[in-house]
Symmetry: C2
Subunit: 321 residues, 2 copies
């Protein structure tokens, strides 16, 4: 409208890049908050993850892949709870000199995965920072009452199963740092773009679950502590992709303790193995049995081909010492 005051830069940026992503309830991102009616008869599930340039992704990573990874690590948490995604809220703290093209690429990545996973942006906040790009997403989902999967529930004698392959992302980070060849780029692709295991009907099959994000051995330790049990896994049973196998056996400890897999780790009553195999066949998501839970203490033992317990420097990634 002629004579109107110009929109301040921050809000012009939001209108240009993020308003097209706004879903029902987001009020066009032009209000103080989003308002929506929760789906009747469902429980709400909420999770949040932060990502920082130089910690969770490389500063030069393509902005659309950064956006999609940010969404997907949160969707993976919903998957680990057996929840269906509903929407998300985004905070983005960027250096003031961030070019408009970076925001455009970032928004394009969000748009692509919003369509893929049938979710929409509900709201958020865009600020400047004197430091590295810092992002957070809070993802909202729903689950049938009482049907959420939990970390607690593993019992001695239950089997340990994992989806997909383990270690590709950690090897991909090593490859992006020049420590490892990755001729086909599959390893780097796994580091940059996880695949959340949504939509698997695991509530009646698994006794406990989580998503492997900080390293298989460490995350298995969470299931052990929550259940008051120990775990034994066979290193050779941990599924590896052809690219990871090609890296050679010296990368085995990295595969077992590196982060960013975003696969599901399950505690399975042995009687449910057939049901899981049927689910895997029906959905095309591979699952592999890698070991079993034992009577406590909450210790994870990794056996090599000779049955000896492997000594690992650390079980996984920790942000703080």
């Amino acid at each position: 409208m002629s004579g109107s005051d110009p929109l301040p830069g921050e809000f012009s940026l939001i209108a240009r890049h993020f308003r097209p992503l706004a879903g029902p309830g987001a009020l066009g991102l032009g209000d103080d908050a989003a308002v929506f009616a929760p789906p009747p008869g469902r429980e709400m599930v909420v999770t949040a993850d932060a990502m920082v340039a130089g910690v969770h992704f490389l500063p030069g990573d393509p902005p659309d892949l950064v956006a999609r990874k940010l969404l997907r690590v949160n969707l993976s948490d919903l998957a680990a709870m057996g929840a269906d995604p509903l929407g998300y809220v985004l905070t983005l703290s960027a250096p003031r000199e961030t070019p408009d093209s970076w925001f455009a690429g970032f928004a394009a990545g969000l748009a692509e995965d919003q369509a893929r996973f049938a979710i929409a942006l509900l709201g958020g906040d865009t600020t400047s920072t004197p430091g590295p790009l810092s992002l957070s997403v809070t993802a909202l989902g729903t689950v049938a009452p009482g049907a959420a999967l939990h970390r607690r529930g593993a019992e001695a004698g239950m089997e340990i199963w994992v989806s997909g392959t383990i270690g590709d992302a950690a090897l991909g980070l090593a490859a992006l740092r020049g420590l490892l060849p990755d001729p086909g780029g599959e390893l780097a692709a796994r580091y940059r773009l996880p695949s959340p295991r949504l939509g698997l009907a695991l509530a009646a099959i698994a006794a406990a679950a989580l998503d492997v994000s900080d390293g298989l051995v460490q995350d298995l330790g969470h299931l052990c502590r929550a259940g008051g049990v120990g775990a034994e896994i066979e290193a050779a049973a941990v599924p590896a992709s052809p690219a990871a196998r090609a890296a050679g056996p010296e990368w085995l400890p990295t595969r077992l303790t590196g982060g960013d897999d975003y696969e599901l780790l399950l505690a399975l009553p042995p009687a449910n193995a057939a049901a899981l195999r049927a689910l895997a066949a029906a959905t095309g998501v591979p699952f592999a049995r890698i070991g079993h839970f034992t009577a406590g203490p909450a210790h994870v033992a990794v056996r090599d081909g000779a049955g000896r317990e492997m000594v690992l420097d650390k079980p996984g990634w920790s942000h703080f010492p």
Copy 2:
């Protein structure tokens, strides 16, 4: 348990400082996400704000006040929608060398305001960063169906009202930077600790509302753009605290355009002025009439004591040019 694997540092930190803050549904912060049943018959309201050291607070600010400001800026967004707070999710990206005492102080601040506002922590993420401390909170609230306040709704002829006093926080930041005396510390206190205007039954009284966070003139511009109207306010009518008044008239532009007030700005049909005055008397929250909306364009005119339009360098804070 003897023989158990040690909890990695990150999770030990979370268990020590944040688990005591976890509410129902948070599953002790030991799961991938929180699960809760939404209150029946209510709509959900969700909002997020990020805060970065050196941008939204000063790096040396006491950690309990940083925590409480982070919660309160989000609660203020819920207040602006007329919503009641339910819970919140936190992401915290901190330098690895952040001392444990900082986390303890931060958690103590959260605990204090959780009790004050009857909310609990639902979940979140704690990561390291090579940059400044970066925080985000996503706040969840509820509102009766259709009762949310919106920014859209101002019409020509409606009155403009604001709660509390305006400009104290911006002057407080100036005082903390040594640009202004603040002998009683009231101004700095307003910068460090806003008071969200929760619990006011404004849905039937105000036609539009927002919380003033980026500067009165700029935020009034949001109400103007959303309603397709202009606004005229009298500078002398904008309520000032005694401490702000003592700063002198040269600080008037800062008061009108500085951020961090977290007061409510309302569009009020003139017939509802008596109801607002009654609400103010009943709750003890002062409201003042500062001007009125005009036929468009969406321009905010600030009149000085002689009726002349004041020229302001910028209407408020914008993170991006």
